[in-house]
C-alpha cells in the first residue's frame, strides 16, 4: 500500500465518493468504460478503483494510440526506416512499441536513422536541414494529434519542402467506441468520455452513444476529483433512468469543439474505408489517410509500402483486455513474458496502456477516505 497524502483536495474526493456510494443500488453491477488512456493512467496512478464500491467496475478502453496500432503498420514504417536515405521520425511513445521484427528503438540500434520528435513541426525542420534525405513522420494519435499533423503537412507545402512525408496512422475514436458497443461479449452501463480528444471534436459527436445505446457519457478532466465527479454524473443519470452527453471538463472542452482544428482535418485527411486496430481487428471508417491532392507529402504514395498484416502474438490476450473482457493481470503473459521492460503486447508499452499502468501501480491506494 502506498499513500498519496499530498493530494490537494481530499474533501472533494470524500464528497464524491460518498455520493457515489449513495447512488449505487445494491445488487446492481455498474460497468463504466474510460475511453482515454490518460484517464486509465490517472485511475491506476491514484488507485481510484480501490476507493470505489465493489458494484462499480472501471473498464479500460481503446484510447491509447500506441496500444491500438497493429504490428503490420509498425513493420511497414520500419521497412521505410531501413532505407539509408530515410530519416524516420516519431514521438517518444512509439520507440519501444514492438512490431513483428522489433521496435523503432531496435531498428535504431541496428543502424537505421530513427529520431524522436516532440512535434511534427520538429520533423519538418529536420527535413529542411537535410534536403538530400527523405524524412518520414510516423504519425499516430486520435483527433487530438491529427490536426497538428495536418497543419504541418500544409506548412511543408507552403514552404516547398518536398522531402517530407507523413505516414498516417491517425485513428478516430467514435468508430472504436461503436465497435465496442456492438461487440457481443460487451455490456457497458456508461462512459467516461475522453478529455483532450473532445477539445477538438467537442461533445456532440458522442450523442449516438446516449441516444442509440442508452449509455450516459460524461466528458471528463484528468484529476482524480474530475474522474470521480464524472462517475457521480454518470450514476445520477443511471439512477434517473436517463442517458445523455454531459461535459464535466467544460473549463477546457467547448461543446462544439475546435472549428479551426476540424477544418484543417477535413482539408488534409479523408476517412479510410477500414483500418486494423491491434486487438480489435478491422473497424470500418476508423482511420484517416492523406487526401489525393496532398499525395506528394503522403508516405503511402511516395514510398513503397507493402501493407503487411501481421497477427498478434497468439498467447497475448490484448484484444480481450482492450475490450474489457479480461483484466490486465488475467492475461496469461502478464508480468511473466510481457513486462514494461520487454513488452509483447502494446498495452504494456505506454503508461496509458492498461497493462503497463496495472503493472506499475497495482496496489496503490489513496488515504483520503479515512474519517
Amino acid at each position: 500500500m502506498k499513500y498519496v497524502d499530498e493530494f490537494r483536495d481530499p474533501h472533494l474526493l470524500r464528497n464524491a465518493l460518498g455520493e457515489i456510494r449513495s447512488l449505487v443500488e445494491r445488487g446492481r453491477e455498474y460497468r463504466i468504460m474510460e475511453v482515454c488512456g490518460g484517464h486509465t493512467h490517472s485511475i491506476f496512478r491514484f488507485g481510484l478503483k480501490e476507493l470505489l464500491p465493489p458494484e462499480v467496475e472501471l473498464i479500460h478502453g481503446p484510447g491509447c494510440p500506441v496500444c491500438v496500432l497493429p504490428m503490420g503498420r509498425i513493420d511497414d514504417g520500419l521497412d521505410l526506416a531501413n532505407d539509408p536515405n530515410v530519416i524516420f521520425t516519431a514521438f517518444g511513445d512509439m520507440m519501444r512499441v514492438p512490431g513483428s521484427k522489433g521496435s523503432p528503438l531496435e531498428s535504431k540500434a541496428r543502424g537505421a536513422d530513427v529520431r524522436i520528435v516532440y512535434s511534427p513541426l520538429d520533423a519538418l525542420r529536420i527535413a529542411q536541414q537535410h534536403p538530400d534525405r527523405r524524412v518520414i513522420f510516423f504519425a499516430i494519435g486520435f483527433e487530438t494529434t491529427a490536426p497538428s499533423t495536418a497543419l504541418t503537412l500544409l506548412k511543408a507545402r507552403e514552404l516547398g519542402v518536398s522531402n517530407f512525408a507523413v505516414f498516417s496512422n491517425h485513428v478516430t475514436i467514435l468508430p472504436a467506441i461503436w465497435a465496442i458497443l456492438e461487440s457481443p461479449d460487451m455490456r457497458l452501463d456508461g462512459f467516461i468520455g475522453p478529455g483532450h480528444v473532445s477539445t477538438v471534436i467537442g461533445c456532440r459527436p458522442f450523442e449516438f452513444i446516449a441516444r442509440d445505446y442508452g449509455c450516459p457519457i460524461v466528458v471528463s478532466g484528468f484529476e482524480p476529483a474530475d474522474i470521480l465527479q464524472s462517475l457521480v454524473m454518470i450514476l445520477r443519470q443511471l439512477r434517473a433512468r436517463q442517458s445523455k452527453v454531459e461535459n464535466q471538463y467544460g473549463r477546457v472542452v467547448p461543446w462544439h469543439g475546435n472549428k479551426a482544428a476540424l477544418a484543417v482535418l477535413a482539408e488534409v485527411f479523408e476517412i479510410r474505408p477500414h483500418f486494423e486496430w491491434r486487438g480489435l481487428g478491422f473497424i470500418s471508417q476508423s482511420a484517416l489517410r492523406v487526401r489525393e491532392k496532398y499525395a506528394a507529402w503522403d508516405a503511402e504514395k511516395v514510398m513503397p509500402i507493402r501493407g503487411v498484416c501481421v497477427a498478434d502474438p497468439k498467447a497475448a490476450q490484448c484484444g480481450e483486455v482492450l475490450k474489457g473482457v479480461l483484466k490486465p493481470h488475467e492475461c496469461k503473459l502478464f508480468g511473466k513474458e510481457c513486462t514494461p521492460e520487454h513488452p509483447i503486447g502494446a498495452l504494456m508499452v505506454s503508461s496509458e496502456g492498461a497493462c503497463a499502468a496495472h503493472f506499475k501501480y497495482a496496489g496503490i491506494s489513496l488515504r483520503v477516505i479515512s474519517g
Binding site: T145, H196, A260
Partner: protein, 90 residues
C-alpha cells in the same frame, strides 16, 4: 501522449507563421497558435500545448492544476525531456 502541457505565451511572432514563443515548465519553445486563430491568445496568457500546437486557452489556475497532475502522474520529467530533446530554444 493524451495529456497536454500547460504553457505561458511570452512572445508572439507577429507574422503569418502563427508561431509564438512559450514557457513550458521552465523551457522556452516555439509552438504554433494556428489552432487558436478564432480566439488568439496574448502575451502572458496560458494555453494547453499538445505536440507543439496550442489546443486551448486556459486560466492560470487551470495551468497550475494541469502541471500538478502531470507531476503526480510522473509525466512532467518525461515531458521536459521531450521538450529539451525536441529542439527547445534553450
Amino acid at each position: 501522449m493524451c495529456l497536454a502541457i500547460p504553457a505561458q505565451v511570452s512572445h508572439l511572432a507577429g507574422d503569418e507563421s502563427g508561431m509564438a514563443t512559450v514557457d513550458i515548465m521552465g523551457v522556452r519553445r516555439k509552438v504554433s497558435m494556428q489552432l487558436l486563430e478564432d480566439d488568439p491568445p496574448g502575451i502572458g496568457d496560458w494555453v494547453l500545448v499538445h505536440v507543439g500546437f496550442a489546443m486551448s486557452k486556459i486560466s492560470e489556475e487551470q495551468a497550475a492544476d494541469q502541471l500538478e497532475i502531470l507531476r503526480q502522474l510522473g509525466e512532467a520529467d518525461a515531458a521536459e525531456e521531450e521538450l529539451r530533446g525536441g529542439g527547445a530554444l534553450g
